[in-house]
């Protein structure tokens, strides 16, 4: 199995370095890992020397300015699709809350025939804060309504795609609404095998500080509406 891991990164290098080290330790198990890392305009720029890449191949690109996680993910997607096909493409966050073993189990789901695998925090034993869980429950209903995709976990950066699935989605939402947009596109892309895989997300102080706030949910709805009004629609 050859594995591509797509990581959008902004500013915090320490958790990113831990994430890369953990991926490197599991790279042999995965049959080789290429990380498509997009520095989303960090200040200062992420220093390639500060990135542990033992056992990994890391393709590093840098946005000249901060555009948002969705934009960085789209850049990583385009970079990954320029290369020879990988067996699986996994997206993960750079803030240290995602585990390398979950990346592998998502990739395995693709190797077993799924086109899209979404990580599900509620099946694993994540320490989801109560307020966050309540918002996610509301988001689940909202997304079911607008994407037609009924998933147990609404917003989770851990997902895996087959090459043909990845080629069919294109992210226009530069910021946090990309998670909803990806689901919309998966649901519209035609017959794809979609599964959910239990994952464990570790909420730490730094991931919570960087993560979405309750207000973020409103921003997502606004961004979706603006794209609905003004965006490009294929």
């Amino acid at each position: 199995m050859s594995l591509a891991v797509l990581i959008p990164a902004y500013n915090d290098v320490a958790p990113l370095a831990r994430t890369l080290r953990a991926l490197g330790e599991r790279a042999d198990e995965a049959g080789g890992v290429t990380v498509f890392l997009v520095d989303d305009g960090s200040e200062p720029a992420i220093d390639p020397e500060a990135l542990p890449h033992a056992n990994l191949r890391v393709v590093l690109a840098r946005h000249p300015m901060n555009l948002g996680q969705g934009a960085a993910l789209e850049t990583a997607r385009q970079l990954a699709l320029r290369e020879e096909p990988f067996d699986a493409y996994v997206t993960m966050d750079a803030d240290g809350q995602h585990r390398a073993e979950d990346v592998l189990s998502l990739a395995r789901a693709i190797a077993d025939g799924a086109d899209v695998a979404f990580g599900n925090r509620f099946l694993g034993d994540s320490n989801v804060p109560r307020m966050r869980a309540a918002i996610l429950r509301a988001a689940r209903v909202f997304e079911w309504a607008i994407t037609g995709l009924r998933l147990a976990d609404a917003h989770n950066g851990l997902r895996a795609f087959s090459g043909r699935a990845l080629a069919r989605i294109a992210i226009h939402q530069n910021r946090m609404a990309h998670a909803t947009e990806i689901k919309q596109q998966v649901s519209r892309a035609g017959p794809l095998v979609v599964v959910e895989v239990p994952v464990t997300v570790r909420y730490t102080r730094e991931s919570l500080a960087k993560g979405q706030t309750s207000l973020g949910a409103l921003v997502i709805v606004r961004d979706l509406f603006l794209h609905y009004l003004f965006g490009e629609h294929e």
């Binding site: 997009v38 990994l56 393709v59 603006l226 965006g231």
Partner: protein, 129 residues
């Protein structure tokens, strides 16, 4: 002329003078247009009966409404168009930034020795360092 009219006239002429001074001859044509619009507005502030007379001609009760209706319509449309333009500019900027990022992408490290790297396709943006 009542107190409100005097205050409005002072505000309008103050703004025109301020813009002429701070912009110092830049955008002279836009300033002329702005000044003309403000002089027109000042006329109706000074002589509200004229505005009301015009309003009655087209069947609107008050002179103020006669002026407000078209201005509100214009502003709502303007705000929508501005938002759309901002959205499009954002998308263009994103595409540009992405193109720069992809063109300058670099590759660190390589697969572990037991695995050959993928064949170079020639389309790859990465350069080995």
């Amino acid at each position: 002329m009542n107190l409100a009219a005097v205050a409005l006239l002072l505000l309008v002429f103050g703004l025109v003078v301020f813009d002429w001074i701070t912009l110092r001859g830049k955008n002279r044509r836009a300033l002329l247009l702005e000044s003309a619009a403000f002089v027109g507005g000042a006329f109706f502030i000074a002589f509200p009966n004229r505005a009301t007379a015009l309003a009655h001609l087209v069947g609107i009760g008050r002179g103020v409404d006669f002026l407000l209706y078209p201005i509100v319509i214009w502003l709502v449309r303007e705000s929508l168009l501005t938002r759309r333009r901002r959205h499009e500019d954002g998308e263009r900027l994103t595409r540009l930034a992405r193109a720069v990022a992809i063109a300058e992408a670099r590759t660190l490290g390589d697969y572990s020795s037991n695995r050959a790297p993928p064949q170079s396709s020639g389309r790859s943006a990465s350069t080995t360092t």
